[in-house]
């Protein structure tokens, strides 16, 4: 019920967007987010984009996981 999935926006028409959810194309509402562009990833929940996913932050989080192996402060 609370599950939300990151998905890529592949088309935008006003407040409606089309996303690719694991190969399935779905129409969602973009009413809750600002400045979304085709190619952005958004968090999709009950047919709405809740927020954008930041590629830089995702990269940093993954780097932090990897650093855990070095016994560092990561």
């Amino acid at each position: 019920m609370c599950l939300a999935m990151p998905a890529e926006v592949i088309a935008i028409d006003g407040e409606t967007g089309k996303v690719n959810l694991g190969g399935v194309h779905k129409e969602i509402s973009l009413a809750l987010v600002e400045d979304v562009q085709v190619g952005d990833f958004v968090l999709v929940h009950v047919g709405y984009a809740l927020n954008k996913v930041s590629p830089e932050e995702a990269k940093q989080t993954l780097a932090m996981f990897a650093e855990a192996g070095l016994g560092g402060a990561g």
């Binding site: 019920m1 999935m5 990151p6 809750l32 990833f41 047919g47 809740l50 996981f65 192996g69």
Partner: protein, 380 residues
């Protein structure tokens, strides 16, 4: 899939597990409550508990919107269909939740009631447009994640002058529930659970940000880490909590920085604030009456409020005898402590709400871990 697969890497899971084993102090226990059923689900599905040292324990919290909705509100929804002849639109998870007298929306539908499953509030609006001569009620449930879509639908209905659409609002608030769990004066001593820190739900914070937890953390001195829902996110968040506890820090930290900021989604917050307001009191299954823990539709929008359009009486109903959902939702008991678990109560034939949604603790135990607790006991 991008942003999913990388956060499920087995190799990194072991890296993190090793790091946690190094950092966790063997001289103490770490009791971490994952508030949200989404985390419970991930912990079971990916065997995260097994990757933790034995002194790091996950306590399952009440963050499953289907599970915490009191039976009386489902009875209300059924009355709307059967006595007021409305078309009731609802998210799929609600269909099988047991109501009073072994009833459910699914059974009501099978008996000819017009109950329709929708994926989105947009679908509910469409049902209203397509059926101008029928009253259409959207049965709105959920935490801060599902609230903005409800607010969008109400605003849209007003714009379109959809006179046959209304919302039965049951939206609840996460921080209020955490406060209730931490408030010792509110819980009898025997029912209090020792908790050292919280994994906070990330999708909720995608909307509300991390800020609403700051005053809670300050007052109750328990750390909160906003944790993503993938297994590596859960592990890293547990590690961040362990570090805070080791260092004697008590802070709100954010592991899910790829979506969550301190401020959250301001556009969504503003929308919710325009349409909805705090409800003075709301009953939660498991937690009882919790003040300022839910939302209702503002009086300016009352023509879209099903509670104003139809008689919605307060119904006090009790759970199936033997069902331990209330205790499980507070973290006091585990699903395997329930005598009905697995014997009488299964996902196909749920007796209580915790067995219905995949985020319910009983459903998670049944689907992924029903033998785990037992096998650990035999091993000990």
């Amino acid at each position: 899939m991008k942003y999913i697969d990388e956060f499920r890497s087995k190799e990194l899971a072991h890296t993190l597990a090793d790091a946690i084993a190094r950092e966790a102090d063997t001289g103490r226990e770490y009791r971490l409550m994952e508030f949200c059923g989404g985390h419970t689900h991930a912990i079971f599905r990916y065997g995260v508990q097994e990757l933790m040292p034995s002194n790091v324990k996950f306590i399952h919290g009440p963050g499953c919107p289907v599970c915490v909705l009191p039976i009386g509100r489902i009875d209300n929804a059924i009355e709307l269909v059967q006595q007021h002849d409305v078309i009731l639109c609802t998210y799929g998870d609600m269909m099988r939740v047991p109501a009073s007298g072994r009833n459910s929306l699914l059974k009501v539908k099978a008996a000819g009631g017009d109950v329709r499953m929708v994926w989105s509030t947009q679908d509910a609006l469409k049902v209203a447009r397509d059926n101008p001569h029928r009253q259409v009620v959207f049965f709105a449930i959920g935490f801060e994640t599902t609230t903005p879509p409800t607010a969008v639908a109400i605003e849209q209905a007003a714009e379109e002058r959809l006179a046959n659409f209304s919302v039965f609002c049951n939206h609840v608030l996460t921080p209020a529930a955490i406060r209730k769990i931490l408030e010792p004066a509110e819980t009898p001593e025997a029912e209090q659970v020792a908790i050292d820190g919280f994994l906070g739900p990330s999708h909720v914070s995608a909307i509300i940000g991390t800020r609403p937890y700051e005053s809670l953390v300050e007052k109750y001195r328990k750390p909160v880490v906003i944790a993503g829902f993938e297994p590596l996110d859960v592990m890293q968040s547990a590690r961040m909590l362990i570090r805070q506890l080791n260092q004697g820090r008590v802070e709100v930290e954010n592991e899910y920085t790829r979506v969550v900021t301190r401020e959250g989604n301001r556009k969504a917050q503003a929308l919710v604030a325009r349409v909805l307001e705090l409800r003075r009191n709301f009953e939660w299954r498991g937690l009882g009456m919790v003040p300022s823990s839910a939302l209702q539709i503002r009086s300016g929008w009352s023509e879209f409020d099903a509670e104003q359009c139809f008689p919605v009486p307060e119904i006090t109903a009790s759970d199936v005898r033997g069902c331990e959902c209330p205790q499980i939702l507070r973290g006091v008991k585990k699903p395997v402590d329930c005598k009905l678990f697995g014997a009488v109560c299964t996902p196909e034939n749920p007796m209580g709400s915790c067995m219905v949604s995949s985020e319910g603790a009983c459903a998670a135990y049944w689907s992924y871990g029903r033998f785990r607790d037992g096998s650990q006991e035999t091993a000990a």
